[in-house]
């Protein structure tokens, strides 16, 4: 496919994805003690659905969206041609290999390289989708390593509410439900901060954005 057509197709598909996401979820962004800014940031979010980064991507203002790349597992995104196209051309994902035994590059290196080009990133520090009853899984160390090695980059917690009910694991058709995406105040690892303490602090900053447990439970 010629590059011009490919990039046009990517933009149209990106637009269609946003329209579809809004149709199904009427997603609304809530910025609490936090502002949409163009500075370099790492957005870190809870992960319950494959559509999570699409929802964040949808609510970011267009100028910020254009310079924000999700970090995603290549094992998922290289599975079909459509997924590869969405992953590489539409959302321009930073693809990392999550299988330690099969990979030849260190994921952290890939992530830091991407940050050094000046873009913002979306990461899911739980490392995998949370299909448990727990609101959040223990964070992997990646988010700590990013903050220690690139201390100038702000970490912004992002709570995605309800998307797991829109499309539970194994269901093919999404059901329309209202979703919200809540952005919290940025955090950073202090110089010499302990890894465990920081991961707990980052996890708490994210949990603080979650709405009270609903009466429906």
């Amino acid at each position: 496919m010629p590059d011009a057509i490919r990039s046009l197709a990517a933009r149209l598909l990106g637009f269609a994805i946003i329209v579809f996401a809004r149709f199904i979820t009427a997603v609304r962004a809530i910025w609490t003690d936090s502002e949409p800014e163009t500075g370099q940031r790492v957005y870190y979010a809870n992960h319950t659905s494959n559509g999570d980064f699409i929802l964040i991507w949808t609510v970011l203002p267009p100028d910020i969206r254009a310079r924000t790349r999700p970090v995603a597992g290549s094992d998922y995104w290289f599975k079909s041609r459509l997924r590869t196209f969405i992953g590489k051309d539409v959302v321009n994902a930073v693809l990392i290999d999550r299988r330690p035994d099969a990979r030849d590059t260190d994921p952290m290196e890939t992530i830091l390289d991407a940050l050094d080009t000046g873009v913002s990133l979306i990461i899911f520090p739980e490392g995998k989708r949370n299909n448990t009853e727990e609101r959040i899984l223990p964070f992997k160390s990646g988010i700590y390593n990013i903050s220690v090695q690139r201390p100038e980059v702000e970490l912004v917690p992002v709570w995605i509410e309800n998307l797991n009910h829109v499309m539970p694991k194994g269901k093919l058709i999404p059901i329309p439900l209202l979703c919200t995406v809540t952005f919290g105040p940025p955090i950073r690892a202090e110089a010499g901060e302990d890894r465990k303490a920081f991961l707990e602090c980052a996890s708490n900053a994210l949990l603080a954005l979650a709405p009270e447990d609903e009466a429906t439970a």
Partner: protein, 316 residues
């Protein structure tokens, strides 16, 4: 009898004039607010007025597009309202296929039946056939926990947000002698009277409201607001007799009936919000909350208005 479209344009002009006055008052209040900017109440007022403009514009476009435009508009309203309702009730993945069926099969089917004007089926489709089908789909998942609550919640959601709301475009199928081609104005009458009644109740309540009707449900609903609102909206309804097939007295009686139904609709939907622990149904319309917050009174009054008109005036 004048052309339906020209009558509609006169009505639209009147609503536009009211909105212009409201906008001027809102902007003046905002400008006079001083250095700290306008207070919450004035900001909310202006957000509401802005949303009113958008809603009137949308309704006007749909009306001018004719029957198909109105049916599509209300199908989308039902979709948005059902999305809000299910958000507050659905939580279990065992209901996934039942809910997907409600959204993607039942809802379009109901509006299709309205479109082809099959009264015999659309009047029983959701109360009987969705009622029987959805629990069958849900039960196949084998999750019995809170089964009755879950399945009743979904049926209730469909009844109010799809079935009742679809009676608004269903008005287009009524045929009254000497009123041919003007049924779209019945929708304008219903929507204008019921929505104005909400505004009047709110305004009278703010101005002279003292005695609360149901403090446990809604702190803003007062007897003064209700009586003032119903009397004002009934008067407006009577004054709008010229767009309807009714005499001024008949128009007043119908306006009275639908404002009372609308009031109780608001009360019932407040009770559901209280039960779910939320203040608004959604966040889609700035200053108004969700679609259901705006449409609750219309959804309760539409079937009543349809059947009263059908029984006493329609020839079909």
């Amino acid at each position: 009898m004048t052309d339906a479209r020209s009558d509609f344009m006169i009505l639209l002009g009147g609503i536009g004039a009211i909105l212009i006055v409201a906008s001027l008052i809102g902007q003046t209040l905002a400008l006079r607010a001083g250095p700290e900017g306008p207070g919450k109440g004035i900001q909310n007022l202006n957000a509401r007025i802005a949303a009113w403009w958008a809603m009137v514009a949308l309704l006007a476009v749909a009306f001018l597009a004719g029957r198909t435009g109105v049916i599509i508009l209300f199908a989308f309203c039902s979709f948005a309202a059902l999305r809000e309702f299910v958000t507050l009730t659905a939580r279990r993945s065992a209901d996934h296929w039942a809910i997907a069926t409600a959204f993607f099969a039942i809802l379009p089917a109901q509006y299709y039946l309205i479109w082809i004007d099959w009264y015999g089926l659309y009047s029983v489709f959701i109360p009987v056939y969705a009622f029987l089908l959805l629990p069958v789909i849900a039960v196949l998942e084998g999750d019995t926990q809170k089964f009755l609550v879950r399945i009743s919640g979904l049926q209730w959601a469909l009844m109010i947000t799809v079935y009742c709301a679809s009676y608004v475009p269903a008005l287009l199928s009524l045929e009254v002698d000497g009123y041919e081609g003007r049924a779209i104005l019945l929708i304008a009458f219903l929507v204008v009277v019921v929505q104005l009644s909400d505004v009047f109740q709110y305004t009278w309540g703010k101005l002279i409201g003292r005695h609360r009707i149901a403090p446990s449900l809604s702190p803003s609903k007062t007897w003064e607001g209700l009586i003032g609102g119903v009397v004002s909206a009934t008067a407006v309804g009577a004054a709008l007799w010229w767009i309807t097939p009714f005499t001024p007295l008949q128009a007043a009686v119908l306006a009275f009936a639908i404002t009372i139904a609308g009031f109780f609709g608001g009360l019932v939907m407040s009770a559901i919000k209280r039960d779910r622990g939320v203040k608004d149904w959604g966040h889609l319309i700035a200053g108004h909350g969700g679609f259901i917050d705006r449409l609750d009174s219309v959804m309760f009054s539409a079937p009543l208005f349809f059947h009263l008109t059908r029984y006493f005036w329609s020839t079909v």
